[in-house]
Structures are given as structure tokens and as C-alpha cells.
């Protein structure tokens, strides 16, 4: 099961009932995944167009979501279709795997730089408590509020901790690169 399934599905059901606030959060959340998904497969101009096209398609065809089925699979089906459509328009031949909804939802913009690295290797450099927070929030999609509850920290403390941890990981990365270049 994809981590965001329950949250996104709830937003979608609320949106189908007419809740514009939930719908906004849903679209904003999906946009982060879509951006990263298309950025890794198309050049930058085409990628943002594909994000918008997909959002419009989600909107126009939202009635085709069957609440008995996983919402993430529905979104992935549309994202994949739009990707193939984009390839087709540019006469590129490509095979796109059928069932990789995980591929869409395991990435978002914030995680992008890290995703290319060996994430676990990097994370191992963090102290255990910080590592847990970063893993929960940045990789597993746990909300800040939920993480705060788990750890007993305040929400702002969680945000600051995660922010600092990511920053220090970024510095580690830079150091490593410098090391690679020296070699």
C-alpha cells in the first residue's frame, strides 16, 4: 500500500462531494509528485506542461474514480497515460511500465536530490532520533502533526529539526562530491 493512499483518498472523496478545500490540498499534494515524475522523464518545459495537463485531466475526469479502488492507482494511470501521450507527440518510442504507481508516489520535489543518492547511506550519518524524523516525514509521507505527536516535540520543533537535518545532509553531499573530485 502506498503511504499517501489514505490521505489522498479521503481528500478525493471529500472533493467528489464538493469540498473545494480538500480538493485544493489534493491537487497541491499531487502536483509535487507529478513534477518530480515528469521532471525525471521529460525536459523541463514539457514537464511543467505535462503536470498542468494531468491536473486538468484529473479534474475533467474525476467522475471515473471508483471509490472501491485505490486512488493512487487511478492517478498513476492518468499520469502514465499523459506521459505516453507526450512521448507519442514527439514520436519517441518508449515503453512505460504498467504498474508502478509506487514510482509516482515515492518521489516528490523535496526528496528529488536525495533520491538519486544512496539514501540509506546518507541517512546513516544522522543521529537516530533525527534520522527517524527525516525518514517519517520526507520518505514515508507522515504529516508534521503526526510526527510531533509520536515524538512529543512541538510541530515547529519537528519542522526545524527536519530542516536542519536535510541541510546537514546537503553539506555531507557537497563534501562527498568535493572528495570525489579530488580523487
Amino acid at each position: 500500500m502506498i503511504a499517501q493512499e489514505a490521505q489522498y483518498r479521503n481528500w478525493m472523496l471529500a472533493a467528489l462531494a464538493g469540498d473545494a478545500g480538500a480538493y485544493r490540498m489534493l491537487l497541491a499534494g499531487l502536483t509535487r509528485h507529478l513534477r518530480s515524475y515528469y521532471a525525471r522523464r521529460l525536459d523541463s518545459g514539457a514537464a511543467e506542461d505535462a503536470v498542468q495537463e494531468t491536473l486538468i485531466a484529473i479534474h475533467a475526469r474525476r467522475a471515473t474514480y471508483d471509490p472501491h479502488l485505490p486512488f493512487t492507482a487511478w492517478v498513476y494511470g492518468i499520469a502514465r497515460y499523459k506521459l505516453i501521450d507526450e512521448y507519442r507527440r514527439h514520436k519517441r518510442r518508449a515503453t512505460v511500465p504498467l504498474d508502478e504507481a509506487n514510482e509516482l508516489f515515492s518521489h516528490d520535489e523535496a526528496g528529488e536530490a536525495m533520491a538519486r543518492r544512496d539514501v540509506s547511506k546518507l541517512l546513516a550519518k544522522l543521529p537516530p532520533a533525527k534520522r527517524q524524523l527525516v525518514t517519517d516525514i520526507k520518505l514515508d509521507g507522515v504529516s508534521v502533526a503526526e510526527a510531533a505527536q509520536r515524538t512529543g516535540l512541538s510541530e515547529s520543533a519537528v519542522k526545524v529539526t527536519v530542516h536542519r537535518a536535510i541541510k546537514s545532509l546537503g553539506e555531507d553531499l557537497k563534501d562527498e562530491r568535493r572528495g570525489d573530485a579530488d580523487r
Binding site: 467528489l16 473545494a20 503536470v51 498542468q52 491536473l55
Partner: protein, 212 residues
């Protein structure tokens, strides 16, 4: 337009979706399409003589049941194919049931003592049957495509084939009221051939006509 503005715009024009919207859309299209197919059958070939009498004949019910079952599973396939991320395996497996049944019945009739083989297989209208089934199916095919275009098929050839399968079977069902063949082997071969032809046509057209 910036993506943030697009999101604001889309959420500002959000309207609730009634549950069963897809089912209503499909049902409307299907009824309209079948009405068109009935019109084609009535004007091009006309209903058979002694239709009321034929309704008591088991052969009539065999072909009605066969084409109805394929149409029902075909429509199920269309409904699944119109939804991204939905499984399509179950309707496809279900389609094996009517096929198996008609083949079994055809085998029984052909192996009966004193069976008139050429009569059972060729009947009197084998040369036109598949063509008329295809012709009768066309209005339903158009209506099913129209409905599918409003859904979100992500595998276009498959969705088109599903639409063709449903329309072919619906066309065959309507054609039953003209056709005076009663033998299971005839139905198993010539009706199926007509349905397969419309399925192929749907698969071909799907790639281009179903894009969104």
C-alpha cells in the same frame, strides 16, 4: 498559466460529482445506440416472419442468451477500461463462459445421431450473417465510443476492442429478431465471426478515436 493559479482555478470551479455518474452515462449511450441498431435492423433487413412463433423455439433463446451474455460482459469490460487503474481481468475471464457454453451446445447438436452437418454449420444465411451483425452493430459502436471518450481509457486499443465486443454482441442480439437460423453450430461460428469483426474494428479505431 502558473500551476498554482491553475490549481486555484480548478478548485474554484469544483462541482460535486453524483455517485453512479459513469453508470448513468454508459446506460444512456447504450440505450441510444441499441435504438439505432434496432432501426438499422428494421430498415435494412426487417424482422423475421412469424416472430411471435419463433419466440417459443429454444434456438431463438439460445442465440438471444449467447449474444446477451457477451454484451453484458463486454459492457462490464468497457466500464472497467474507462477507469484508470482498474483491473480488467475479471470481465475477460467471464467472457469465456458464454463461448464455452455455445461451443459445448454446438458439439452436442453435431454429435447427435443423424445430424445434418452442412445444415447445422452453414444454415441458409452464413454468407451474410456476419456482415449484417456488423452493420447492425455500428450505431451501438458509435454510441459506446462517444461514452468512452467522456471516461478516461488509458489503454486505447483494449478499450476500443471492449467497445467493439459490446457493440458486436448488442448488434447480434438485435439481429436475432431478423435471423431465422436456430442451430447452435451456426450461431457459434457466424454470430461469433460478426462479433469478432466488430471487436477488431473497435480495436483499430480505438487508438485514434479514443485519445484524450
Amino acid at each position: 498559466m502558473r500551476t498554482d493559479d491553475l490549481i486555484t482555478h480548478l478548485s474554484s470551479e469544483l462541482e460535486p460529482v453524483k455517485s453512479g455518474a459513469v453508470a448513468r452515462l454508459l446506460l444512456g449511450a447504450v440505450l441510444l445506440g441499441i435504438a439505432g441498431s434496432v432501426l438499422v435492423m428494421l430498415t435494412v433487413v426487417g424482422p423475421r416472419h412469424n416472430l411471435a412463433g419463433a419466440m417459443t423455439h429454444p434456438g431463438m433463446w439460445t442465440k438471444l442468451a449467447y449474444s446477451f451474455a457477451i454484451a453484458a460482459f463486454g459492457l462490464w469490460l468497457v466500464e472497467r477500461a474507462g477507469r484508470p487503474g482498474a483491473e480488467i481481468a475479471r470481465p475477460i475471464v467471464a467472457l469465456a463462459l458464454p463461448l464455452l457454453a455455445i461451443v459445448l451446445l454446438a458439439g452436442l447438436q453435431m454429435s447427435a445421431p443423424g445430424a445434418d452437418m452442412p445444415g447445422l454449420v452453414m444454415g441458409r444465411s452464413s454468407r451474410v450473417c456476419a456482415t449484417y451483425v456488423t452493420l447492425t452493430a455500428l450505431p451501438t459502436l458509435a454510441a459506446t465510443f462517444w461514452a468512452l471518450r467522456k471516461l478516461a481509457p488509458t489503454r486505447l486499443t483494449l478499450a476500443g476492442a471492449g467497445a467493439g465486443l459490446f457493440a458486436g454482441a448488442a448488434g447480434a442480439f438485435v439481429y436475432c429478431f431478423h435471423c431465422n437460423e436456430e442451430a447452435a453450430p451456426f450461431i457459434a461460428i457466424w454470430y461469433t465471426l460478426g462479433i469478432v469483426a466488430v471487436t477488431g474494428l473497435g480495436a483499430l479505431l480505438g487508438r485514434t478515436l479514443l485519445r484524450w
